[in-house]
């Protein structure tokens, strides 16, 4: 019965979403206050019913109800409880329900936090969100119902969750990622409401900013969790493959990052309005496009996901309606007048614009690279592949350019910055970063030769140190060297600082792990030793072990450095009982300055095994940096000014973020 209850709850939620989409919108034109207010209660009610539906599906998993097709395909009695619960979103149908749940959650949050908004605006925002909910609920119910039963003959045992997904990563990664993806529906709805109302004042920009920041934080954390998960789970030591599924999440992130920056100019200075509106539409459209790419099967991906062209048609239709309608609205009603305010060459406005050029170019490049194989196929030019060499070729210079500009971020002023003064501020950081970037790589290797003095490392360090020293110099000047002044700097300033340094830390990880990564694929028998990156690895033995739902071979490898024992690593080769899939479980010893990564390959006979050893310097900084970026976004989102109950004077609104102006 629980399952039928869940099904009905979802249908009720759909009905509420329809009301939420239609009535407040009509009310906003006819002026019926009660009609407009209806959206708020509908949004909350919709959330309650989707949550109920979600709880019912979770219950079916916990109770091992294999008469439900979705449960039978993705669970198993042997599966530990926490994986049964996360298996709810382990495949297509359930993850769509998670989408719906999160979307209704965001809608309810907007409904509850919209007290300060004009009613007409909040009614329209909720109506747009309601319309998106309708689409997703219909999609779930019509094409991918997780509540379908296998009757009359139900299987006694489920066929198990994909072993790749039986991991902590599945518990945290999809919810985080979806919070980010779906969160961008809020600024999207704000943008549509602004277009409908024809009001592009700074007010809508200010209202949508905290939502953008919070969604961006979730997306940032979600993507980096995914990368970390792939790193330790796929067993090859890679952390980013430029796979279509990864690109699908990265494109909204780049567009969202551009949006986050451009909207600050729109709010503070009333410039780039149509551009910001377009970015708000674009970011959410890319989330939807990502859903299409991942689930329709038009592209192949290394990351497991059930795909189905039938569903592809539905999402494409939905995508066409939502994005097509909003872009049409944008074309018809978008602001064409030139902004009344002006700015000069070195102003913060210009710098933000250049930031946007880099971010959006990177986004467009990834979009083109991801879709080009499809385009070539459609045009009959044959099957081609576009992979990491292509993406890196463009992405690295684009991000380097971005980081050069990013150094100046804190120093720029709205309207006008004196170019000469700006350059003068850069002299000291440039000197420090150049010298250190040239010197540090000398100490990164054991025996220095011409060939192992890494240029990649020099460039990386130069950019990273440039961003860090510029940021710190700015901080120093802002607080005039007094620690006591630090506390009076605004949340958005700290947010910017931390996020920018986070980006630098992330770049440090990417650059140095690329420059100094070493790897060996060896044939070893127990007792064999090898040396790699200053560590001695000794293969002790391989023994069979048994897990809850798999059997495995586990190798023991002792790691020493200069004769001193460091750690024992135990990579496994697992064989899952239900599906017979073989999985490589690498074992990693992670420290800030290096990861030791050992994975067990195939048995080669005579007790010999293939083993891959990798030493990856600073690879952890990639995720640490992403966390810092997320923290920065959070600091900015919870800047006091968004929570101010009563706006006193808005006199210093154009200076905010710069506490000492």
């Amino acid at each position: 019965m629980t399952v039928e209850l869940g099904h009905i709850a979802l249908i009720v939620a759909l009905c509420l979403a329809i009301i939420q989409a239609v009535i407040p919108m009509i009310g906003s034109f006819s002026g019926h206050t009660s009609w407009m207010r209806l959206g708020h209660s509908m949004a909350v009610g919709q959330f309650v019913f989707v949550a109920l539906s979600f709880a019912c599906l979770s219950a079916a998993f916990v109770q091992d109800d294999f008469s439900v097709a979705y449960v039978a395909n993705n669970s198993n009695t042997l599966l530990p409880l926490h994986f049964k619960l996360s298996a709810v979103w382990g495949a297509h149908e359930g993850s769509l329900l998670l989408w719906s749940l999160i979307l209704s959650g965001w809608s309810a949050a907007v409904a509850l936090c919209s007290g300060k908004l004009p009613l007409v605006l909040s009614a329209r925002v909720l109506s747009v969100l309601g319309a998106i909910s309708v689409g997703f609920a219909l999609f779930t119910l019509l094409t991918s119902n997780p509540f379908d039963r296998i009757l009359p003959v139900s299987p006694i045992e489920g066929s198990d969750l994909n072993p790749l997904l039986q991991d902590f990563g599945l518990i945290v990664h999809p919810p985080m990622l979806y919070m980010g993806y779906v969160g961008f529906s809020v600024p999207f709805a704000f943008a549509i409401a602004a277009l409908i109302g024809g009001q592009f004042d700074s007010a809508w920009a200010r209202w949508s900013r905290p939502w953008i920041n919070v969604s961006w934080v979730f997306l940032t954390i979600g993507i980096s969790l995914g990368s970390w998960w792939a790193y330790y789970e796929l067993g090859w030591g890679g952390w980013w493959f430029w796979d279509p599924v990864e690109n699908a999440s990265f494109m909204p992130w780049l567009a969202g990052t551009a949006l986050m920056h451009s909207i600050s100019a729109s709010e503070k200075r009333g410039v780039f309005r149509s551009w910001t509106l377009l970015l708000a539409i674009l970011t959410f459209s890319l989330s939807l496009l990502g859903t299409f790419l991942v689930r329709s099967g038009v592209l192949t991906s290394v990351h497991a996901f059930a795909s189905d062209p039938e569903r592809g048609v539905f999402i494409l239709l939905f995508l066409g309606i939502v994005v097509g309608a909003s872009l049409l609205l944008f074309a018809l009603r978008g602001p064409t007048m030139r902004s009344a305010t002006t700015y000069s060459g070195w102003s913060r406005e210009t710098m933000l614009l250049i930031n946007n050029v880099f971010l959006v170019s990177a986004m467009a490049m990834i979009l083109i690279g991801t879709l080009y194989p499809l385009l070539a196929d459609v045009l009959g030019m044959g099957k081609i592949s576009v992979g990491p060499p292509y993406f890196n070729f463009f992405f690295v210079p684009l991000m380097s350019g971005l980081m050069v500009c990013l150094g100046f971020a804190g120093f720029t002023r709205w309207k006008n910055t004196e170019g000469r003064a700006l350059l003068k501020k850069g002299v000291l950081p440039l000197t420090i970063s150049s010298v250190m970037a040239l010197v540090l790589p000398l100490f990164m290797v054991d025996k220095l030769t011409w060939s192992n003095y890494s240029l990649t490392a020099v460039v990386t360090l130069m950019l990273v140190l440039w961003v860090v020293t510029m940021s710190l110099e700015d901080l120093w000047l802002k607080c005039r060297g007094k620690l006591s002044s630090l506390s009076s700097l605004s949340g958005s300033y700290w947010g910017m600082l931390v996020a920018h340094i986070g980006l630098a830390v992330c770049a440090l990880g990417v650059g140095l792990s690329t420059a100094y990564d070493v790897q060996k694929d060896l044939r070893m028998v127990p007792g064999d030793m090898t040396e790699l990156g200053g560590y001695e690895f000794q293969f002790i033995e391989v023994k069979p072990i048994e897990g809850p739902n798999f059997i495995a071979y586990r190798a023991d490898v002792d790691v020493r450095s200069g004769g001193e024992f460091i750690v024992r690593l135990s990579p496994e080769k697992r064989n899952y009982k239900s599906g017979g899939q073989v999985m490589t479980e690498a074992d990693i010893d992670g420290q800030l300055h290096r990861d030791l990564y050992v994975s067990l390959g195939e048995p080669l006979g005579d007790q010999a095994w293939a083993i891959r050893f990798q030493v990856k310097p600073y690879v952890r900084c990639i995720w640490l940096g992403s966390l810092l970026m997320g923290l920065g976004g959070l600091l900015a989102a919870f800047d006091k000014r968004y929570r101010r109950r009563r706006q006193r004077k808005i006199v210093n609104s154009s200076n905010e973020g710069l506490a000492f102006e």
């Binding site: 149509s274 494409l316 097509g324 872009l327 074309a331």
Partner: protein, 178 residues
């Protein structure tokens, strides 16, 4: 800003949608053969049934033939085998390419399931497989009488595939030969 410029995103999106719509029909995992229109690669390999009998590309010329890549470790080949037997009965000349397999097991398999092949080439190391661009069994190639590859199918050939991809082309090639 010019109003026309605001229509630009919509126009780009329309193009994108068309591409995606057309892309839905395509199978991204399906690879075209680089050898369609090319002559069958040169090779010199033993026969499956007789290790001393060497076969070469000349042995394939002269008839419109199917070259079927198969192996005993290939699960899908079991499913396909009945179809091949049926085609052989209808008079289609099928040549086997036994791919990275064990000789005894392969001979045993043909004894049990019937042998649709005019003869089988024994490619133990998979060298001819690589020259052909084989990436997994079963694969089936249609060759005209001059030994030029005209079509390739990766995966099982069943009634549906035969009727939609091979039958007409086969008939046409046979009539061309006459």
């Amino acid at each position: 800003m010019n109003r026309i410029a605001l229509f630009l995103p919509l126009a780009l999106f329309a193009v994108l949608t068309v591409v995606l719509l057309l892309g839905l029909d395509k199978d991204p995992a399906e690879l075209p053969s680089a050898l369609v229109g090319e002559p069958f690669p040169i090779f010199s390999l033993p026969s499956l049934h007789d290790a001393n009998q060497m076969l070469a590309e000349q042995d394939i010329l002269g008839d419109v033939v199917l070259v079927n890549v198969w192996a005993t470790w290939c699960f899908a080949c079991r499913i396909e085998h009945a179809m091949l037997n049926q085609l052989a009965e209808q008079g289609v000349k099928v040549i086997g390419l036994n791919y990275k397999d064990n000789r005894e097991a392969a001979i045993d398999w043909l004894r049990k399931r019937g042998d649709p092949y005019a003869f089988s080439i024994f490619d133990e190391r998979g060298g001819l497989g690589i020259d052909l661009g084989v990436y997994g069994a079963p694969e089936t190639y249609l060759l005209d009488a001059t030994g030029t590859i005209r079509h390739r199918r990766v995966g099982v050939v069943d009634d549906r595939v035969w009727n939609s991809e091979f039958r007409d082309l086969y008939a046409q090639l046979v009539s061309n030969k006459r």
